[in-house]
Symmetry: D3
């Protein structure tokens, strides 16, 4: 291994670890599941997903995580073609301090910019996330879920 390669590996690990920590902070279990689901089909994409969106973008200091999650919930509701990711980020918004009511307001507001169907489908996603969240809270404590291992 050359020195340049060693340096590259070392640095990739830094971005990866910073990104993984951010992914877990924001998306929690949902984000980890997304990464795990990629293992069999595109493991490199799991690494890129952690490094660029979470290691590079979400780790930037210029915007608080609450605002970032509001932005994502708005965008994915408006685009209307990414329901699984919208649900992950509705949970993510809750995880970083956005209230359920605020999530609902953001989605309702999208009726103005992307139409009522987009808002209705966004509200359906929110209801599913809130319900799953309620059910989990009602259950006895399970073993804490192991964090995804660094590949």
């Amino acid at each position: 291994m050359t020195n340049a390669q060693a340096s590259q590996n070392s640095n990739d690990n830094l971005r990866y670890e910073r990104g993984l920590a951010k992914l877990q902070q924001i998306d929690g279990e949902g984000g980890v599941k997304v990464v795990e689901s990629l293992a069999g089909i595109a493991p490199d994409f799991a690494r890129l997903l952690i490094e660029f969106p979470f290691g590079d973008i979400y780790s930037r200091p210029g915007l608080d995580l609450r605002s970032r999650e509001i932005a994502v919930v708005a965008a994915l509701t408006a685009m209307g073609n990414a329901a699984p990711q919208l649900k992950v980020h509705i949970q993510g918004a809750l995880n970083v301090g956005v209230t359920r009511n605020e999530v609902v307001e953001v989605i309702m507001q999208m009726a103005v910019y992307a139409g009522f169907p987009a808002a209705l489908n966004g509200l359906t996603a929110a209801r599913e996330v809130f319900t799953a969240d309620d059910e989990k809270s009602a259950q006895p404590l399970a073993e804490p879920r192991a964090l995804v291992e660094t590949p």
Copy 2:
């Protein structure tokens, strides 16, 4: 005029006036221009635009205007097919206290959710708004612009 019609007119005026005030607070001159541009083609739509998005949605108490404008800038950047409205709301975001740097962060973040072209075109819109804003600040004070009259 029946009592019901009188009540309706009275109430429509309430929603309209509340919406117009909110439009001016958020979008300022840009919003007023949008309304004026509708006069010749669809004056009823100008009224509906003020009543529903601004009189109904933006007037709701559950989400602060700063978060609402972050949500709109994110959504319109991601959709990528509404450049004029994106510019109005980039200015709107600045008007309600979002910083230029935060606007840029929101748009950059959309590269993750809607791709780099959407983010690049959003940044182009932001640059145009910031430049126009700078030029306006550099000019001697003009007469204050008359507010749009209630139709």
Copy 3:
């Protein structure tokens, strides 16, 4: 309660009732279900959905309901990201006098403007609506479904 508030409440009821009647005329049971589904997550959005699209837009005299439903079926087929609402409006189109064959022609035409996948997915939605409609016609008469109550 002030006079202004009383007037507002009275007027909101007028728009709401006009919108609810229009919703039931066009979308029938499907529209009512949409409204009911919002009760637990965003009851205010149910009210807005009735007031603006149906109380304001669909109640305008300038375009017949048949043309309005053709327009919606075309738009939702072309957008391709709102299957539940497309199904409601395919049924709505039938409810206001568009024939099954005309619905199919509108959807087929969208192959030209939004591509064959959009048209194919629209035809799948139409087949599901037509099949459900046939099955309902084949059943013995059920009790008439109660209309949604005004909140």
Copy 4:
């Protein structure tokens, strides 16, 4: 030339001529310009554009042209990424008997399904078409424009 090839050429001419007549009936000068603009870059696409959308789809008997143009104006307004084609079809709608007011109603209605920006940009397109139409009517009669030649 084999008999099969001769038959194919003969038939392609039938579809082409039927499509060209339909294109001229609906889109008039705007449609002809679209076809002409393809001459230098993709002449085969001009032929396909006439044969499939106009020779096959618009020539089908199951839906009147007025409804077809309402469907297109709705879809292109909602998609929001095809302004040149939207203008051609706003003119096309007028050509087959849709009134200006009906065009405006269809576009306004899209605020419900695709958001206010889509409707606003559609109204801008309509205003440009109506204005150009008014200016043409105000001019002295020009020589009738030659129809596009069959390639």
Copy 5:
């Protein structure tokens, strides 16, 4: 039947047969199922689907089928609203010689142009196609599936 009609029928059969052969070459069983699924709702659309996309476009000599399938997988992944058709064309890409790894690379690349959610949902589609393909290979040989009959 006039001579012109006879010629038209003869020629339509030529385009149809050329298109059907191309559909079977590219999309195989998946394409045939799409055509069959249209029988009950829009049989004419099945014919148009074979004639225009496959008889006209895919039969053109200027681009190899491998490149055409890469183009389709990229486009449908980026659009993100046509999962059934994306799966058919992932299989189609494999059928004309694109490797699984190349399919995954094309989909991953779409993260740059349409965002990570589009790429993630494309990878989910790819995994389903690959898994179904593996399961089919593991089964004992079934009777060869009859080709769709020419209507």
Copy 6:
């Protein structure tokens, strides 16, 4: 500066340089202009644009550049909301060996998947790129353009 930071800087430079070389190989002058245009508004985004799409994705060995550019031209044509980037990548496709005729075939094929308006607007973009290319070839040789400096 800690060792970890030094390693990170060293590695970021490796990804950046690899990405910049790839950007110049594919998009040439057009890509460099995009990067330069970001200097005043979001210089960090210029770095991310080089590092992730070009340093990470385009540098992967699993797919040839010709196929990658065909994929991008297809996707951006189909999405229909990123004309500037489509033009850059039409030139990029030519730069890596795709012929003009193949570019036109890819765009024409998108009529099937995203509709005729998307294909027509893609052909307009292609014509502009080809014309600019012809004009440049007709000019006397200019000084070679300096490569963009590493920030």
